[in-house]
Amino acid sequence: MNCEVFFQLLLNGLVLGSSYVLVAAGFTLVYGTARVFNFAHGHFYMLGAFIYGGLVFLGVPWILSLVIAGLALGLLGLMTWHILFKPLYFDVFLTVATSVGLGYIMVQGVIVTVGERNLIVPSVFKGVLTLWGTTISLEKLSIVLISLGVMVGLHLFLKSKIGKALEATTIDQEGASLQGINPRWMLVIAMILGSALAGMAGAVIVPYLSAQPNMGYPITTTYLCIVVVAGHGSLKGAVIIGLLFGLVKSFGYHYLGTWDYTIMMLLVAIIMYIRPWGIWGVEFRRRI
């Protein structure tokens, strides 16, 4: 195997995988803790990409744009929770259906305002790095490093007192409320945090993929598969499987051609059938 090609594929896989990890980690927080199936999560990612792109074009520094994209999507997540998911919490199907409707509104709203075209956002980091005879583009490396930074931040947050309360609520809501944790607040925090992560994922990946209004649909399937294979509410699993998905997509496209997606999906279906609760998941019971 050509060493150069291998390293480039590895880097591409890591870039894709890191964006998958951020989106899937956000979804696993929302789904594991708040127990709602947010089908608009992928469109939050799309909106994050557009907000970041617009701010960068206005001349705002990249790190500030990243934070603003995260905050804006966190606010949107809060609004979504209060307007849609809280009143419909008792019915799983209605939350799914309304989040689908929200997704339509967001995609079409972006198409109406921005137009149906690709928004190419140039990366702030330019140039290449030569390491052991292979060239690594700084643009891709920066994507991996920024998402690593976001994940480290999330890890530190989850180690704090609020984060531990969040984890307790994920495992058992009634048990957590016996320990003096208000589960309602934890659900709101999980929703805000998850949506903010989706927005940041879009902002991080946009120099590599370019923003387009329909980019939410493919990622929806991907993060659903990652979360189900990894296990509901398992952050560790989301990180490992997310990176694996990115690598499989990058290498699979190179070696299998366009059939890679179908084969990957069938593998996912087999894993789902053998272990319905995911590899790192615990059995999740919510009757519908």
Binding site: L102, Q108, C225, W259, M265, A269
Partner: protein, 313 residues
């Protein structure tokens, strides 16, 4: 005032007569086209509601539709089989696939079932796109219109009657099932699957019946769809289409298993035309409608109507 039973029968008769004379009332060819689409869609939505009735949430409703369409298109273009054989064959093949998938997936929990349905919806589009024999991403064309002897169903009005006939058949199938012991078991499972299991209802069996029936009727509708457009592409049966099906179900009313899908499909198809909403704003309209329905009219349009009209189910 007439007794309840007669009133209900009269209203049903009136609606049916109105649907029969519809093409002569509305002159516009485009409106008839809208009604044909609504009729084809309402069959799929009825299947979706039957699955929802036994608490199987699925996002591959349009996949079975597409399976029926592709079976019918393949048989009629490659082997030259008559439409009247293609129609039942595509329904049988679609229900066979539904049986296979159901045997694997129905026993799993609802989350897994939902996810497997998402995977199936994606794999179907990708797989059809890669098979050259079925036309690939370019789609399959030149599917002939159905014909009896020398009469070909070319005009929109004649195809409307064909659709109306098939929709009536599907309504009768579902009505018969809901009225029979199977329907009672479905309702019991829908209210509480644990309770139903404890009194000896075989949940797996009745869920499979709902799943396979939905596959069968979707196959019928898909066959008619393929012969109507005479061109089908894999992307017209993707997951977005399946999500539209669930939107129709919510708008019509999830508790109304026959009238809900019909009213919901007609509203979702006809109201944007009536209000002259362009393609650009149609998804926004649909999103708003579903959110408003879920928040304020939880029983759907039929839930509101049934307060004034004594129609049930």
């Amino acid at each position: 005032m007439l007794p309840f039973k007669h009133q209900k029968g009269l209203i049903l008769l009136g609606i049916f007569l109105a649907l029969i004379f519809l093409p002569s009332i509305i002159g516009s060819q485009h409106l008839i086209h809208i009604f044909i689409l609504a009729g084809l869609e309402c069959i799929v939505v009825m299947g979706f509601i039957a699955q929802y009735h036994v608490r199987l949430l699925t996002f591959c409703a349009a996949t079975f539709w597409g399976l029926g369409a592709y079976t019918s298109g393949f048989l009629s273009t490659k082997f030259g089989i008559n439409f009247w054989f293609c129609l039942p064959l595509s329904a049988i093949i679609t229900s066979f696939f539904a049986l296979l998938i159901g045997l694997l997936a129905v026993r799993a929990g609802w989350v897994t079932f939902l996810m497997i349905s998402v995977v199936i919806a994606e794999v179907f589009v990708e797989a059809i796109g890669h098979i050259g024999l079925l036309g690939g991403w370019d789609g399959m064309g030149r599917i002939p219109r159905p014909a009896i002897g020398s009469y070909v169903f070319l005009s929109k009005a004649s195809y409307y009657y064909l659709t109306l006939g098939l929709a009536t058949v599907c309504v009768l199938i579902f009505m018969g099932l809901y009225k029979s012991a199977i329907g009672k078991a479905w309702t019991a499972i829908g209210q509480s699957s644990d309770l139903a299991e404890s009194v000896g209802v075989n949940i797996f069996k009745y869920r499979m019946i709902a799943y396979v029936t939905a596959g069968f009727t979707s196959g019928l509708s898909g066959s008619l769809y393929a012969h109507y457009f005479s061109y089908i592409a894999p992307t017209s049966f993707d997951i977005v289409r399946s999500l539209y099906v669930s939107i129709n179900a919510v708008v019509g009313g999830l508790g109304f298993v026959i009238s809900g899908p019909i009213i919901g499909s007609i509203i979702i198809r006809a109201v944007p035309e009536w209000l002259r909403i362009t393609d650009k704003y149609q998804p926004i309209f649909e999103g708003l409608v579903i959110i408003l329905c879920a928040l304020f009219f939880r029983k759907g349009v039929m839930g509101v109507l049934s307060k004034y009209i004594p129609l049930r189910r």
